[in-house]
């Protein structure tokens, strides 16, 4: 179960099965999906010398090249493909669709290939984004595919794309899972039904030999945990997403003051970059130590290279040369990134903000929280976004508290110069995921029993005040896998098909030899990705493998922006 490898398998097949000088044609959506998991040097090594977009009609004709088309079967891409076949620019065409093609389209394609340039047409199900091995997403963006139609219901376009993406993921991993969904979520149910329909409709594909039918797919809804996407993140990968922004593996640094030209845009890839692979889940403090080690390593390497005195030295240099080159590029990149992160952390006083956030997310202490929050809102050094985020967290936790001060805080925000729109996002989030919408007792403060548990947790002591929070989803999965509170989860996460096997959760021995995919309608966060990566290590002894995905990757700003279009009061 590795999302990155799943896509790499298809990419590899495409460029290896066809030998000779090649051009790779991609479309608007397959371009980022492929570039997330492969590099230019990889493509070059596979004789793929040119990469272009199929929509680009100004390409020069090069009949001596073979052409690999990897496109999504969307109307726009199919039209571009038909145009291409009517006046072919390359010698032979090998066409790969990233998803199931309508049967009628084959006929249309056949009619338009009058010059007989097509050698092969196949479906290669690489139709999702794979930023890390245990994380995938569908890449829904509010501008192309708004998620909600009105309230908690699917926009049809987004639903269709999500079903396709999940279908491709399952085929690429060879899973025909049993589907469970969060009982209070109409969107999770709808997605499950559509997916189940597609899987039974395409029985040929999902009945292929070797397809694992014991896997589980849990479809959950972001509204049951609105807290995680609102928290300041402290691990490397998550920080980059939250503070600088990663767009399909690319980081744009051109706005950074005094940036050097060669690092204006950098790529992050686990495959190519061992330092990143090792430190993506380190928290900010450990990251500092780790980058210092990297620089020292680089310095000793450089020094040894300056003292080439013997043939043996030179040989050693030549041996280490590619490693060395990679290292030197990497050092510049990571030093720049970490430098920029720490500048932003200091500029926005994120340590102070985060301390309050974590307290609001994890501990029930109304009076002191309110006091701290008032002080934060009145503090001119804190940005408006951060004030609002803390206020939303407060509103979520104390929504049902008798003496909550939500109205007063709104006024305080306004009087401190925060936009009315931003203040309104408190109500937006409450409408989307207030206590009435949520199914679980997220803050464990709704009854005496859960309050007791919450206090007990508080007594266990915390390692790091900034990273106390654990995503609700990770707790859920761990309890299910370990066989704890089976009936509780059985109630909240029912099977789509009530008669399906296995009907029950909560065998006391827990789960063994099980692959579980969790899909979050409304977007997944990097904190959850890290939690799942860690759980994968913890649960390896039970041979349980996890993967998490979502309609998109959410940061606090993208989360609030998406909600404000639909849940505005």
């Amino acid at each position: 179960m590795d999302a990155v490898k799943a896509i790499q398998y298809y990419t590899n097949r495409m460029v290896t099965d066809v030998s000779g000088m090649k051009v790779l044609l991609l479309d608007r959506e397959t371009t980022p999906m492929i570039s997330l998991v492969s590099t230019q040097s990889y493509l070059l090594a596979k004789e793929t010398y040119l990469v272009d977009r199929i929509e680009n009609s100004g390409r020069d004709a090069m009949r001596h090249l073979k052409c690999i088309c990897f496109v999504r079967p969307t109307d726009a891409s199919l039209q571009a493909l038909l145009d291409e076949l009517r006046s072919p620019k390359y010698g032979d065409y090998y066409i790969y669709f990233s998803n199931i093609l309508k049967k009628s389209m084959i006929e249309v394609l056949a009619e338009n290939d009058e010059s007989e340039v097509v050698r092969e047409i196949q479906e290669f199900y690489a139709d999702f984004y794979a930023p890390t091995p245990c994380l995938f997403h569908i890449g829904l963006t509010p501008s192309v595919h708004p998620l909600f139609a009105e309230g908690h219901s699917w926009n049809p376009g987004a639903l269709g794309r999500t079903v396709q993406g999940l279908c491709a993921l399952l085929l690429s991993l060879k899973k025909r899972p049993n589907i469970r969904y969060e009982r209070n979520s109409a969107m999770a149910l709808k997605l499950g039904q559509e997916l189940e329909y597609l899987m039974s409709h395409e029985a040929g594909l999902f009945g292929t030999k070797g397809v694992d039918s014991h896997a589980q797919l849990f479809i959950v809804d972001r509204k049951n945990d609105p807290v995680t996407p609102l928290l300041t993140q402290w691990t490397y990968h998550a920080l980059l997403y939250e503070l600088i922004g990663i767009n399909n593996g690319r980081i744009d640094l051109s706005h950074v003051p005094g940036i050097r030209a060669e690092v204006k845009e950098v790529m992050l890839s686990q495959d190519q970059d061992t330092f990143f692979k090792q430190s993506q889940h380190l928290n900010f403090g450990d990251l500092g130590a780790s980058i210092k080690k990297l620089v020292e390593l680089y310095q000793t390497n450089t020094k040894s290279h300056h003292q080439i005195e013997s043939i043996a030295d030179m040989k050693r240099f030549v041996e280490a040369y590619p490693e060395f080159r990679k290292l030197s590029g990497n050092v510049t990149k990571h030093v720049t990134l970490v430098g920029e992160l720490s500048r932003l952390v200091a500029e926005r006083h994120l340590l102070a903000v985060s301390e309050l956030e974590q307290s609001l997310a994890c501990n029930e202490q109304h009076n002191s929280d309110l006091k701290a929050l008032r002080a934060l809102i009145s503090d001119a050094k804190i940005t408006a976004e951060n004030k609002v985020r803390c206020a939303i967290l407060y509103a979520l936790r104390y929504e049902r508290a008798q003496s909550n001060a939500i109205a007063e805080l709104k006024q305080l925000l306004t009087s401190n110069g925060v936009d009315a729109d931003q203040v309104a996002s408190i109500d937006v989030v409450l409408r989307y995921a207030g206590a009435g919408e949520r199914q679980s007792d997220l803050f464990q403060n709704e009854n005496l029993f859960s309050r007791g548990r919450s206090i007990f947790k508080g007594l266990q002591g915390v390692e790091n005040v900034y990273t106390q929070h654990t995503p609700a989803l990770a707790e859920m999965v761990e309890q299910i896998v370990r066989g704890k509170q089976g009936l509780h989860w059985q109630e909240r996460l029912p099977n789509l098909d009530p008669k399906a096997r296995p009907p029950l959760l909560g065998n006391e021995n827990g789960m063994h030899n099980q692959d579980i995919i969790v899909f979050v309608v409304g977007g997944v966060t990097m904190e959850e990705e890290m939690a799942v990566a860690k759980l994968n290590e913890k649960l390896a002894s039970q041979n349980v493998r996890l993967m998490i995905g979502g309609t998109s990757i959410q940061t606090s700003s993208s989360f609030l922006a998406e909600l404000s279009t639909t849940f505005f009061p």
């Binding site: 020069d60 001596h64 009619e111 050698r119 030549v318």
Partner: protein
């Protein structure tokens, strides 16, 4: 056409009645195929004329490659589904219909071309090949739906299908005295042209590319065996393999440089050539490491070189591509080993070493005679030889000079600095090798020293 009362059509040659224009024209195609304006015409004659006029259609029709068939289902992680078989059978139907139409149009054009040779009474001759629609048969253009008028949207007959179309929906095919044809027939003609188009271009590129692929195939075949031998005792065989590998790498490098130097008809060509060169540089960088740990020939007394720990695998991690600068052939370290190995052979072959020499015996002696310090005459001789070498290097690559002239000064200075650094280093290695009596190494180092000298003086001349 349906709503119009069309007058009965009859064949202008035999008078047979035909229901529609299409049917009539098909009748003309089939029954009067061999008819020509000046009967009786010989088929050979016809072919000659057609060849002369339609030569561009005729060069080497391309046989379609067989379509890969079958359902390759699962042989790796992900599910795949092949639609090729279904596609191919649907295409067969579509293509054979199109082929029929193509042949028909092609034959009509040939006969029209012949008709044009007849000179007088062009229209009449044309209509004997293709019957025309009556002028009042249509009120609007069937392609753009605009109504015909006396002045604005004028009627024209398509010479290939005989239909009435408006002027803006026609183009003129430059066959005979020019054939006006409608958009539909124009598309068919374009399709025929694509099908008959001469063999794909890129002749020179393809030749060089084949050389690269052949070199890589050879190197890939040799490398596993060679890497196994590295650090072993059988230095004789290792050295033999090494020579073959060096030759293969040299071929690859040369061919890729030739590709990079090819003139690009378009920016895309230039991009393609640069990408091929970049791929080769990366390939060489990744695969040439192990070469440096085996001496270039079986030494009599050389102790086995200790193996650096990770050299045994040829599969080093992919390197980020290095931008190739045209001004430096000897750039950063990996090419040093490249030039060391590649030139050790060429120097002995061309007899370039300061002491000169020739013939098998002299060459073998040469390997043991290395002047520790060139004498005054030796120096002069060396300078002369150097000039000679520079000339030779430049004549081997005529565009070099021009490229150098375009290189900015800073870049030249920078590469000069790199080369000088390397020269200093190589001098150090030579004296060390001589001190330790590692004559083999000293020889190949000497060779790379002269290489560096050539490179230096080429750049210095161009400053």
């Amino acid at each position: 056409m349906g709503t119009f009362e069309t007058p009965p059509l009859s064949c202008p040659i035999c008078g047979v009645q035909a229901g529609t224009l299409q049917l009539l024209n098909m009748h003309l195609d089939e029954m009067h195929l061999s008819d020509s304006p000046r009967r009786p015409a010989q088929q050979d004659d016809l072919d000659d004329v057609a060849d002369a006029i339609l030569g561009f259609f005729r060069s080497k029709p391309r046989a379609p490659e067989p379509v890969a068939r079958g359902r390759r289902v699962v042989d790796g992680p992900g599910v795949v589904r092949s639609l090729t078989a279904g596609f191919a059978s649907q295409r067969r139907a579509a293509v054979s219909a199109a082929r029929l139409e193509d042949n028909r149009v092609e034959r009509r054009i040939e006969r029209l071309a012949l008709a044009h040779r007849g000179g007088s009474e062009l229209q009449e001759a044309e209509q004997r090949v293709v019957a025309w629609e009556a002028d009042d048969a249509r009120e609007s253009c069937p392609l753009c739906e605009r109504r015909f008028g006396r002045l604005t949207v004028r009627r024209h007959h398509c010479r290939i299908c005989g239909r009435l179309v408006c002027g803006s929906c026609t183009e003129v095919l430059s066959v005979g005295q020019g054939l006006r044809m409608c958009g539909d027939c124009g598309r068919t003609v374009a399709r025929i042209r694509t099908r008959h188009e001469s063999a794909p271009g890129g002749g020179a590129l393809l030749a060089h590319y084949e050389a690269i692929r052949a070199g890589m195939a050879e190197a890939d075949g040799l490398l596993p065996a060679f890497n196994k031998m590295v650090g072993g005792r059988d230095l004789g065989r290792a050295a033999a393999l090494r020579r073959r590998l060096t030759r293969a790498f040299g071929d690859i490098d040369r061919a890729s440089k030739a590709v990079a130097a090819l003139p690009g008809a378009s920016p895309t060509d230039a991009r393609l050539h640069a990408a091929i060169r970049r791929a080769v540089v990366t390939y060489l960088q990744t695969h040439m490491f192990t070469l440096s740990v085996v001496p270039s020939r079986a030494p009599a007394s050389l102790p086995a070189t200790p193996l650096p720990p990770r050299s045994a695998s040829g599969e080093l991690p992919a390197v980020d591509p290095v931008p190739v600068s045209a001004s430096t052939t000897t750039s950063v370290p990996p090419p040093v080993s490249e030039s060391t190995t590649a030139t050790s052979m060429s120097t002995t072959a061309t007899g370039v070493s300061p002491t000169g020499g020739g013939g098998g015996l002299a060459a073998s002696l040469l390997s043991y005679v290395i002047p520790s310090r060139p004498t005054a005459t030796g120096k002069e001789q060396a300078a002369l030889l150097l000039d000679d070498l520079v000339e030779r290097a430049l004549s081997a690559d005529p565009q070099r000079q021009a490229r150098l002239a375009e290189t900015p000064l800073e870049e030249k200075l920078a590469s000069l600095q790199v080369l000088r650094d390397q020269r200093q280093r190589v001098l150090g290695f030579i004296s060390e090798a001589q001190r330790e009596r590692r004559l083999e190494d000293a020889i190949s180092l000497q060779a790379s020293l002269s290489d560096l000298d050539v490179e230096l003086s080429i750049i210095e001349r161009n400053l």
